[in-house]
Symmetry: C2
Subunit: 121 residues, 2 copies
């Protein structure tokens, strides 16, 4: 879901926008070759200025995730298909973690740590 940016979160708007678009692609709501809503539409959806939209899209383009076609629109360039097993694994873990009274933020903190620890070894 593309939602208005949270202006009080402290996270720069353009980063929030990048994340939401990435999420749409990851979740399969936007697939390879799909056209993104026009910038004037995104502007309304996210509740920010065109320039902020442009900054997000330019960064996404630099990351190779979307591609601009002048006068036509933005298109999804890279879309990694997520193995349904991934969602399955996470759903099961989340279920258990919630039972243990964990919250999302703390979970992410630990997840990051566990992930990095595994890379060193």
């Amino acid at each position: 879901m593309l939602e208005p940016v949270d202006k009080h979160s402290g996270i720069p708007a353009y980063l929030q926008i990048m994340d939401m678009i990435k999420k749409e692609i990851v979740l399969g709501n936007l697939k390879f070759g799909d056209q993104l809503p026009p910038v004037r539409e995104l502007k309304k959806v996210f509740g920010v200025n065109v320039n902020t939209i442009m900054k997000s899209l330019e960064k996404l383009q630099m990351d190779g995730i979307v591609e601009a076609q002048h006068g036509v629109g933005y298109f999804v360039k890279k879309s990694k298909i997520i193995n349904p097993k991934v969602v399955d694994i996470l759903e099961k873990s989340v279920e258990e973690l919630k039972k243990m009274d964990m919250d999302l933020n703390t979970t992410i903190l630990i997840l990051e740590e566990v992930w990095k620890k595994g890379e060193q070894s």
Copy 2:
């Protein structure tokens, strides 16, 4: 580990600092009653200005996580003990996810989505 702030990540320095301190507490490297390194030390560690450190600490104090004692130092006020099972669950999930060629950022995006989905139902 307390590391220098990433100044090019786009994430405000004070947020990165808050996250790192929270992480230390969550991981048990900082326990209830422990004194944090002095602000002048934190300034060096994180590579930012004193004012930025102060902003982070004040916010952490407002969140009830640390407490200031003028002339003495900052102390950990709240430390949630993490069930070792939590780390266990995450370690196993991470192991599987890495085998499926997942990266950390994408994993977090999906985790957030799965977490929120479970709250609606």
